[in-house]
Symmetry: C2
């Protein structure tokens, strides 16, 4: 039987709890779908800092590089905020993205009918929302140089560089165009080309690529307007293509439209090598180790890993169906609780998912 090596990064906060649920479910669907998964659990983030002094130890990075896919739960905790930035959990994640060449971050936002009332937006505005943010993940102001802090003539100046190469734009644009073809054919590229040189190059490259995709209806939107339009009428969007920083902001805004960020997975992919799959929510240190966490975004991230990373479609569907069934049966974790539903903790939710 086919066997895949999966590096698991449980991380911090609620990470280990939700990872435990995902692992149970992965075991179940792999054996019922005729493949096997071999796990390698590695420290990343705060736990790695505690153990080794570094957020991304070399041994963890090596284990990720040689895996077939990497599954991450969540990292970070306020206790590390006072460390120099390079030693914080977040830097481990940035280092991992960069070292694995994960330039394409896919963040689907799909409204789940059973959870529509969890949104702060009116039902008629978000009903049927089904969009995909395609965020560039290894360039832009996150990684641009020069950067730093200098003192001169009694003033301090800190700076970063927001930069893209044409080929960096092309490879992420291609991902977005291909996705648009496979979905509704609508692609909206977000930039700030009325102000930024780097956005003008972005717009030029994306516009040029449109010639190769006559079936895709391409539009361009300024980032401030996109932040507005997501609130005004999110249904207008299908695939949203963005740079690293704009994607960070807009994908979180888009996720919150659903009202249930505890339900949203993501994938980060390179041109070859293993992908990284993780829920978009954080490590929620305030509810860690209390059996309160919602494991469903983690389970859906595992499903995304099966489908996108390992081409195990049927097993992925099995996980997604389990989530749908459990919701339809009225089971909810605390973050999603509403009248008439049954509230479960993280472990009990895992049991229900397994049964489904």
């Amino acid at each position: 039987t086919t066997s895949y090596r999966i590096t698991l990064l449980p991380g911090d906060g609620i990470g280990p709890e939700i990872m435990a649920v995902a692992r149970q479910l992965l075991d179940a669907v792999s054996s019922s779908h005729g493949f096997s998964l071999v796990y390698d659990v590695q420290p990343m983030g705060g736990v790695a800092i505690d153990a080794t002094g570094e957020p991304l130890p070399n041994s963890t990075l090596e284990a990720c590089k040689t895996a077939d896919a990497v599954l991450l739960a969540a990292i970070g905790s306020p206790q590390y905020d006072s460390l120099p930035r390079e030693q914080r959990p977040e830097s481990g994640l940035l280092g991992l993205r960069s070292a694995l060449g994960l330039f394409a971050n896919l963040r689907p936002v799909k409204i789940i009918p059973a959870l529509i009332d969890a949104s702060t937006l009116k039902r008629e505005v978000i009903e049927g929302v089904d969009l995909m943010v395609v965020r560039e993940l290894t360039g832009g102001v996150y990684f641009g140089t020069p950067k730093g802090r200098v003192e001169a003539e009694g003033r301090v100046r800190a700076f970063n560089t927001m930069a893209y190469f044409d080929d960096e734009i092309d490879r992420i644009a291609k991902v977005a165009f291909e996705l648009a073809v496979a979905r509704s054919g609508r692609l909206c590229s977000v930039d700030k080309a009325n102000v930024l040189d780097v956005s003008q190059l972005w717009r030029d490259q994306v516009t040029a690529m449109a010639a190769d995709y006559p079936a895709v209806e391409l539009s361009h939107m300024y980032v401030d307007n996109a932040a507005m339009q997501l609130v005004r009428n999110p249904r207008q969007f299908d695939v949203l293509l963005t740079s690293n920083l704009f994607g960070d902001i807009l994908s979180d805004e888009a996720a919150m439209l659903s009202g249930s960020i505890g339900m949203l997975p993501s994938a980060s992919l390179g041109s070859s090598g293993p992908g990284l799959f993780e829920p978009i929510h954080g490590s929620a240190p305030d509810i860690a180790r209390q059996d309160k966490a919602n494991p469903m975004a983690m389970v859906l991230s595992a499903a995304m890993m099966l489908r996108v990373g390992l081409q195990q479609d049927a097993a992925a569907t099995a996980l997604e169906t389990a989530v749908d069934r459990v919701l339809a049966a009225g089971y909810r974790t605390g973050d999603l609780m509403s009248e008439g539903c049954t509230q479960l903790g993280c472990r009990a939710m895992g049991e229900q998912l397994l049964a489904a």
Copy 2:
């Protein structure tokens, strides 16, 4: 009697129509409140490009510099999008902000009870929202150098510099702290200090200044989380302090929460010299010259000019009261229309405001 020189910049699209309404109202309140306004109408934006080839002619800039206040309607039109960026309407606005030293952009977002149903958010989420975005306006990635586009070894690289000096951060932070003192005492500073050096300096400076304002409760939030929290629970915010780019994005998102961006004014202030007052909405070229525009954000911008720029509080209140009364009487422009209300065009709305 006191007399003020006001430079009017009607600009493009619906600009001239809404400016005509504001001017009528300014005439009325100035004569009833014992001061006079002398107007100097100048071309800026697309109209200036058509007339002179430049979005911000020197004569316009001089007229702004020597005025007591500048009132701008709106600029921009798709027809200029193909021009090089420095020759577009937007560059005129950036040049004006920079030349007048308007580093502090104040964007209040207050839910008007009569218009609460215009929002895409649920009533219980936005009821009572009353926040103020304080956006730095003359620094950051909008103005940082080096910037540009270079070709080397067959690749094109475009780049901007996101930079702040410590004293640039201090002066905008001071504006925000003072506003927080005058309002609820809560200040939230937004940055991306977990990734960006420039944001770390921002956070350090703002944190240091908090010692001077013991009555202010300061918090820090990452920009992606802020984009989420504005959707999740906008009432948690009072004063939001942001850099130029983050403020551009978040203030538009915050504005759209109200559902009626045709109602929102803004002020841009320097440390001395005239302020610039303008609605946050754009030039809406699609409805220009059709007598459909909503002039109320323009009128409220004139009110902000009277209060903040000219210290004519009573006259400002008169304009704001007129807007409240007209809404309470059920008059609406097309953008705000709902059942049971009376729809008016731009001119007729101006008449009603005048009567009120």
